[in-house]
């Protein structure tokens, strides 16, 4: 069965085109579930921030806009390198796929490193929610902001860690020339996932870091 088929084409597909369309469409449908997954969190954010505007502004002012801003730039950069990796796959430069993806991984690691620094500051200041949460200001319910901050950024970071794990598998395969212009669905599909994670951060950054700058309430 398989020997009558071209390399990289699974037996139940008729053509590379059908295989590729199926794989992209599958990835997009999966991303729709991801939209709703983070959507649940954004919904919680929306309701609680409406109910506790002062606490959210106060909590937000504790975050470091500089580090958050740098991380935004880093993540956008990693999206660029990922897009270039996909481009390399489309034009058939398989070593360049590996190089661009490795760069994407390094930028992703940088993001997580900076995130870890931020986390350790917050935990050190007693802002990790739970029994040991400390807040000296007059505002009430600031802990709720940090609940949501850690939940949202934590799940975002988890998505990045999963993404980097997948990259570790894909980079060696790319280097060995496993992906051709006809058959590189894994690279493109992974690219879609990575860009999605970037988009989530594009929303998290203003919602978590910037909301309290001018807030006088």
């Amino acid at each position: 069965m398989a020997d009558t088929h071209a390399p990289g084409l699974q037996h139940h597909f008729d053509s590379y085109e059908q295989q590729q369309e199926a794989s992209f469409f599958g990835m997009w449908v999966f991303l729709a579930t991801e939209v709703l997954f983070f959507g649940g969190l954004f919904c919680v954010y929306l309701i609680y921030r409406t109910a506790n505007p002062v606490a959210f502004a106060a909590g937000s002012r504790e975050l470091d806009i500089l580090l958050g801003g740098i991380n935004t730039a880093v993540l956008i950069g990693s999206s660029l390198t990922m897009a270039l990796a996909v481009h390399a796959a489309q034009v058939g430069k398989h070593k360049m796929i590996a190089i661009w993806m490795a760069l994407t991984g390094i930028l992703g690691g940088t993001f997580l490193g900076i995130k870890a620094v931020e986390y350790s500051h917050k935990i050190h200041e007693g802002h990790f929610p739970g029994p040991h949460f400390v807040w000296h200001g007059p505002e009430v319910n600031v802990e709720m902001f940090f609940n949501i901050y850690f939940m949202m950024t934590g799940l975002h970071a988890l998505h990045m860690i999963i993404g980097m794990g997948i990259m570790l598998v894909l980079i060696p395969l790319a280097w060995k020339g496993r992906f051709t212009p006809d058959s590189h669905n894994y690279i493109e599909g992974f690219g879609l996932y990575w860009h999605f994670v970037d988009i989530v951060w594009i929303f998290l950054f203003p919602l978590l870091y910037l909301l309290g700058v001018t807030s006088h309430v």
Binding site: C43, A73, G77, H195, I202
Partner: protein
């Protein structure tokens, strides 16, 4: 292969646009616009996300079905937000 290949120049232009918009969103946050601060911040975020979706994720040149998938996921997000808010916004109406 009939796949559309986006040029590297386009990628670079989008990348710089995203960086500039990040700067803008930080800058605007320091200007006191009252409740409009949130509106502006979200408008910029939506615009940035659209750039990523359309160009980095190739939706601009993709099949109609992909576009429908994107739009319907956002529509369901609106259902989730909208009907949940329909409760919270009207709770006080009875005084």
């Amino acid at each position: 292969m009939s796949e559309h290949v986006t040029s590297i120049t386009t990628y670079l232009v989008i990348f710089f646009a995203l960086l500039v918009l990040t700067g803008v969103t930080v800058g605007v946050a320091y200007v006191d616009l009252g409740p409009l601060n949130d509106v502006v911040a979200m408008a910029i975020a939506v615009f940035k996300a659209s750039l990523v979706v359309l160009f980095f994720m190739h939706v601009k040149n993709s099949r109609r079905m992909t576009k429908i998938t994107v739009v319907s996921s956002l529509f369901w997000l609106l259902i989730l937000f909208g009907l949940t808010l329909s409760d919270y916004w009207t709770r006080g109406f009875l005084g």
